[in-house]
Symmetry: C2
Subunit: 490 residues, 2 copies
């Protein structure tokens, strides 16, 4: 990230009164970006170059002090090993980094991570790192936290319309609030964790869910100007958008369009629902962000939307009394595997009862559940066996996903056949590995397999079998689908 | 059962040529029943009286030898303790015996039980008794069994159109075949097991699934004449009717009507599907017999059909390679509980791989699985807590079923809240019992509970909680539904 710092006017309302942009140029390309006021007479313009070489820039502003600043800098190859650029969609239903490095989202949920206290943030990042999550869903605007949790700073001036007579001055942002966000965004970036930034949400005690229309857009433009040069940013237009009663579908569409227009880098854009699924075929959605665990609908949804799908809320591991918050680690692990063999991705969440006012993990706190290591085990497996991702095998008798002839992954869920005649391709020889997803064991069988291959399995449910191509085979490519067809009996 | 034995003509084809009926009379009531030819010049008329007292009868026949036989007998109160008469529907969505004794179907599947070899039948009955199943689904017409299993007798004369040049003489039945069925039916009756008799099915190697129309009806009338006086008979018109390609929907409707007309006792009538659900709102269906485990649709189906529902195939415990035949005992137990808290019933099945040609349980053989005792545990629980059956609590936040204010049974499935505020009625005081359905433990909590009651639960999934009314309470009957409404967050 290149950042240009300029000093300018601090009188009046610089957030509203001062226009500041810059054009960045390399060879024949020009990229126009918007700067922002950072308080105390400071202005910043941030830029994320995508091409190695010399860039020049020149500023334009309604303020004489800020206008016409020009300069050059060299964009060099990434120095930090984890820097592969921003994540985009790839291979129709999957993702990858800008430099072509595979990226498979195995994310979690820490809504308050960006604005919570330092202790919570440290604990939260430690948990994410330990469990190897590579994405987290986090709110930009504050949400109420547990009792005993310290009051938040506010993103705008004023004291919040919290029913105690306070007011929000929506014409002035609080730079300190955003500086905290940015510090945390960088911490995520250093840990190779993508930040799925939730721009609007219904969990609000101060009026941010029902700001006037022009304020919503004012806030959006400011946030995008500040944050879009962070390479690990994704835009989640809203969490549970359909629970934000003050907004209409056309508001959500507008926010997508503003985000698409204002973000020079086209970071990933999605919107997350509660009950009413957004029409993800709309062109500004880069992928679907669902709340559900009806993975059996994945295939028809992928075909309808032609985009990757992340099931971003599949209920939470935990023990609270709400239905969404008391899954066992076994069930959470199972849902991640079901997602993968259905060609989609899932997102973790956790919430345990706290008597002491301690923040739950999903607000940003300490990780207490047992699914984390199992999800990391699955992530490591996927990263080892494919560069592109796995697509579900349509019409397969047992749930399975693969990519070309290279790899085929079965997940048997509740089924526990003593043996199965796997209908492998006859054009390749495969290694076979038995996997216990919860106990995290792998057992590679001796020899190779091609065509219809009978393999004995354990008598346990929730087991997986992985086939990987080791060489070509001489079989003619007319595999029998016989064993794909269910018997009529009984 | 009263049985009148008469000798008559054995020349020609008595099955086809001789008409034999009788009218049984007590006081002002008359019941007309049909007799049947049992081979060797023997004719029988069976009658199941439903009223204590003196009955008289007189026969009518196209044969002079069989015509005009008259007599009387006394119908006395049941002598055997398990005899409560036939089972019928009751309480809208449930069942009971004719004498008003509660009957809750906890059945299993032994397709070949009626016509298999004696060793298999003995083993099968021992398993049913041990696991306390009180219903079994069994085919009247033969089905192919595993390799090494002895050839069957045939229900009709001839050698079967098995592709080896045999033929069926559909105009003559084989009395020995039916005598075996009846012996087995009586053995079930003695063990208090209802026989859900499958009249047609698609698993056939001898032409019985595609007999000419008039033969189907000929077979139906003969079977009903022979078997309807057994009090433990239910009629399942077909198994997987939609897989019997030679028959149309109007054939199935006809079979229902014939069965309804010919059976003087109106035994329970249902039809079992594979993929295409029969319209169970048709008036001749007494209850629905489903193949599925989508219990979440139970409520809408009960309301649409206004009848009891038995999920008669919910997949099988076992280890074969087909999806329907390799559930764990845990998953089978779970599905039974899901059925109960959705106000419906489920049926057990089991199939394990046999290398030796041994019959699987579901064909009639040895019971090897572990769900049997768990199903018996659930049956004993239901029999202890209700006389009518349980209906699902519509709109409940967690799955639960009850009957009036007397009893309320929760099943938490994958959910494992550390505690829950149960929204109990304020008009009663309840005892509370924690139940582990798989480990078959019950723990009754001290004290009683009324109104919103917080109870701590274990951290395990698949647990249940039972509330039973112990006394009336003084609360006003305006219970808050607050805790029934899911929180919006997150």
């Amino acid at each position: 990230m290149f950042e240009l710092h300029l000093n300018g006017p601090s009188s009046g309302n610089p957030f509203k009164d001062v226009v500041l942009t810059a054009v960045f140029t390399t060879n024949h390309r020009q990229v126009r970006v918007t700067g922002f006021y950072d308080g105390g007479g400071s202005y910043r313009i941030r830029f994320m170059p995508d091409t190695i070489g010399t860039w020049s820039y020149v500023t334009s502003s309604s303020s004489h002090d800020l206008n016409g600043h020009a300069g050059t800098f060299d964009c060099v190859a990434p120095i930090t090993p984890g820097n592969h650029g921003p994540v985009g969609t790839a291979h129709q239903y999957h993702f990858e980094y800008a430099d072509g490095t595979p990226y498979f989202p195995f994310g979690t949920t820490t809504y308050a991570y960006l604005f919570t206290g330092e202790d919570n943030a440290v604990a939260s990042l430690a948990g994410m790192t330990q469990a190897r999550f590579n994405k987290t869903r986090a709110c930009v605007l504050p949400k109420p936290l547990g009792k005993g949790v310290q009051p938040l700073p506010f993103p705008t001036s004023g004291t919040g319309t919290d029913g105690r007579g306070g007011t929000n001055d929506y014409t002035r942002f609080n730079p300190v609030y955003f500086q905290t966000l940015e510090k945390r965004l960088l911490e995520l970036q250093k840990a190779n964790i993508e930040a799925d930034l939730i721009l609007f949400h219904p969990y609000d005690a101060w009026g941010y869910k029902s700001m006037p229309d022009e304020v919503d857009e004012f806030y959006l433009r400011y946030t995008i100007a500040r944050l879009s040069a962070f390479r690990n940013v994704w835009w989640s237009i809203a969490n549970e958008y359909d629970l934000v009663k003050a907004k209409t579908m056309s508001d959500w569409d507008d926010f997508f369009r503003v985000t698409q227009t204002e973000d020079p880098y086209s970071h990933l854009r999605s919107i997350h629902h509660s009950r009413v699924i957004y029409d993800h075929s709309k062109p500004w959605c880069t992928h679907a962000s669902l709340q559900s665990y009806d993975f059996e609908k994945s295939t028809s949804r992928r075909e309808a939307w032609n985009k990757p799908i992340i099931y971003d809320e599949i209920q939470y591991e935990g023990d609270v009394d709400r239905r969404w918050g008391n899954l066992s680690a076994e069930e959470m692990t199972r849902r991640f595997w079901l997602a993968i063999v259905n060609g989609v991705y899932a997102t973790h969440g956790e919430v345990f009862i706290s008597e002491t006012g301690e923040s739950s993990w999903s607000d940003a706190g300490r990780l207490r559940g047992d699914s984390g290591p199992r999800i990391a085990f699955l992530r490591a497996l996927i990263e080892r066996i494919t560069k592109a991702g796995l697509n579900e095998v349509e019409g397969a008798y047992y749930l399975s996903a693969g990519m070309g002839d290279e790899v085929l992954l079965y997940y048997f869920d509740v089924h526990r056949p003593a043996r199965y005649d796997f209908p492998l391709s006859v054009t390749a020889n495969f290694s076979a590995t038995l996997i216990d997803p919860f106990h995290m064991t792998t057992t590679t069988l001796p020899g190779t397999f091609t065509g219809k291959s009978r393999i004995s399995l354990s008598n346990k449910p929730y087991q997986a079998v992985l086939f990987q191509k080791v060489s070509s085979a001489k079989g003619k490519a007319t595999p029998s689908n016989e064993s794909q067809v269910p018997s009529n009996e009984p």
